[in-house]
């Protein structure tokens, strides 16, 4: 038995191909890309060594500051928005709709599987002002306000992005969190009710602490995804107006493929990877310590 499950050749055959492709497509390129940060040039013209010049540029580039601050703001705001909206939805499924929630759960889940580009094009037209008002501006005018050029100012554009991505993802987070909520034993809730906890107090003191682990998982999942946002913003605002809604990912893409500066593009990608690494490790450590606190 141990011989069968410890057969070296069988293990190699099973893991080998996956490991090989993964190494060739991801591991090697990661280090290769890190090497590019010390060069200037691109795939067509070739590369030459420039030392730390790219990192010096990184520190003085005002576009980096804009992109970095947008990325962080977006990650924090959207994470809060989608996890809170998802959690409220999950509470709604579990405590108000109860067993009747299957259909609405599925319907709310729909948007996450829709192609991002299609959703972005739809939102562009939902919030359009020219050549004709979209539904949102029509509604504003119907209740006596002026139509707003939603994509014309940085502040408005930011919130449209947040609204769209929350619309897309809240049903998905609701299902994730719902799974955690239905696992809370009925008897615990019942006991708290008998002790006089109702409504908000029940949620605050009983449900919230008990669903903490799955809430934390959703949080980590969300931060990890939002730091890498690309599709939805490229398709919705293309980083505009100006570069006000350009995250690091899009700035890296433009630097590399519009301006053909692979060296500097790789440096931006490197910065993004370091941020992802730090945030992931920090969240991981935080989740372990706070997980213990809740358990004790």
């Amino acid at each position: 038995m141990t011989e069968l499950l410890g057969n070296k050749r069988a293990i190699m055959t099973l893991v080998g191909p996956a490991l090989l492709i993964y190494t060739a497509v991801m591991l090697v390129p990661v280090f290769w890309s890190a090497g590019y940060t010390l060069t200037s040039g691109n795939a067509i013209t070739g590369y030459h060594f420039v030392g730390l010049a790219n990192f010096r540029e990184l520190l003085s580039d005002p576009n980096i500051r804009t992109a970095l601050s947008f990325t962080l703001r977006y990650a924090v705001v959207l994470t809060i928005a989608q996890v809170v909206a998802g959690y409220l939805l999950a509470l709604f499924y579990v405590f108000i709709l109860k067993r009747a929630s299957a259909l609405i759960r599925t319907l709310m889940f729909f948007p996450i599987v829709l192609p991002t580009v299609a959703v972005a094009l739809m939102f562009q037209n939902l919030f359009a002002i020219a050549p004709v008002n979209g539904p949102v501006n029509s509604l504003l005018q119907a209740v006596g306000y002026h139509a707003i050029d939603w994509f014309g100012t940085a502040g408005h554009a930011f919130w449209i992005i947040i609204i769209m991505d929350t619309w897309r993802s809240m049903g998905f987070y609701a299902v994730l969190l719902y799974a955690g909520l239905v696992d809370i034993p009925e008897s615990v809730i019942e006991a708290a009710r008998i002790d006089g906890a109702t409504g908000l107090r029940l949620v605050r003191h009983v449900v919230l602490p008990l669903s903490f682990p799955v809430l934390l998982a959703a949080l980590i999942f969300s931060i990890n995804g939002t730091l890498k946002v690309f599709d939805s913003i490229l398709a919705l605002t293309n980083g505009g107006p100006g570069n006000a809604t350009t995250p690091l990912t899009l700035y890296m893409f433009n630097t590399s493929f519009s301006y053909d500066e692979y060296g500097y593009g790789a440096t931006i990608a490197f910065l993004l990877t370091v941020i992802c690494l730090i945030v992931t490790l920090a969240l991981y450590r935080w989740s372990r310590t706070s997980g213990e606190e809740v358990a004790s």
Partner: protein, 303 residues
């Protein structure tokens, strides 16, 4: 909350005849208790469904209709021809063929190799299984931007640019970490006794993988495959980087450049194209939704 507040409302009402009052109270109680839930459900439905309905109506409007009638009105002429325009003039048919050609081979590779690796990492005994698992896990965190430039250089040097191969290879590589991780977590549920029994019956390790473990994981495989399918099908970054001509565009890249095919923006065909892509994924999702929900709520994601 509802029981107490409702009884308070009902108590404040003037008394009627006893029996009528009792039935009235019961139905009022039930109605008011369910009212907030129903209202909220309605609001949620409008938030999710109305944009899609609006999209569909827009896909059936003529350009004149779209620009000159209120945005919530029905089309004056139902322009089903918009769909033909999107498919033929807009090249959507070509884009869907490209996406299919790129995604399905990659998906097959990811599922086969990913579940094999997950099986070996979770159920077989070897010293390096934990470090190898961590190496795969690290890949989930790395942003695609970090591998794009070397891959572009490699594909350019090897002469793969100008075909769909870069997409197939890149999707296969980037899909593996999450698949391996999810499959490994799902395989944890396979009881050791079953594998031992199969081994005693004389099955080799590959036989156990293909005929015992994998069939037990049918739902898990389906869930992982669907998750990966949506990642690959909806990908924009990789497709945008490695497709340099209109002939190679995937659905997402094609949609992004859709207005270019007509010169000026033709709203009807554009909305029709969005509807086709949205409708396709919706049909696929509806067909498999039960398995996905079960897989998501009872599986690896929950940790």
């Amino acid at each position: 909350m509802t029981a107490t507040s409702v009884s308070r409302i009902v108590r404040d009402r003037p008394a009627r005849r006893p029996d009528a009052q009792r039935t009235a109270r019961r139905s009022v109680t039930r109605f008011t208790r369910r009212l907030p839930g129903r209202l909220l459900t309605l609001v949620l439905l409008i938030i999710v469904v109305y944009p899609l309905v609006w999209l569909f109506l827009g896909s059936l409007k003529s350009q004149y209709d779209y620009l000159n009638t209120p945005t919530y009105s029905l089309p004056t002429h139902w322009m089903w021809g918009n769909y033909e325009a999107a498919w033929v003039t807009g090249d959507l048919g070509l884009y869907i063929r490209n996406s299919t050609t790129a995604v399905f081979p990659a998906l097959a590779l990811v599922i086969l190799l990913g579940s094999a690796a997950g099986f070996a990492l979770q159920l077989m005994k070897w010293r390096l299984s934990r470090p190898v698992m961590l190496v795969f896990l690290a890949g989930i965190m790395v942003p695609s931007q970090m591998i794009l430039l070397p891959l572009f250089t490699i594909y350019f040097q090897v002469g793969l640019t100008g075909s769909l191969w870069p997409l197939i290879i890149t999707y296969a590589g980037t899909g593996l970490p999450l698949t391996v991780f999810m499959m490994a977590t799902y395989f944890r549920a396979v009881p050791r006794e079953i594998i031992e029994a199969a081994a005693i019956d004389g099955a080799g390790i590959f036989r156990i993988f293909f005929s015992v473990a994998l069939p037990m994981m049918r739902n898990a495989v389906l869930t992982v495959a669907l998750v990966q399918f949506f990642f690959m099908w909806n990908d924009l970054l990789v497709a945008l980087t490695f497709t340099d001509s209109n002939n190679l565009r995937t659905v997402q890249v094609g949609l992004l450049n859709f207005t270019g095919q007509f010169g000026a923006i033709e709203y009807g065909p554009l909305f029709a194209a969005i509807c086709i892509t949205v409708g396709g994924t919706l049909i696929l999702f509806t067909a498999l939704n039960r398995q996905v929900m079960r897989g998501l709520t009872g599986g690896a994601v929950k940790g």
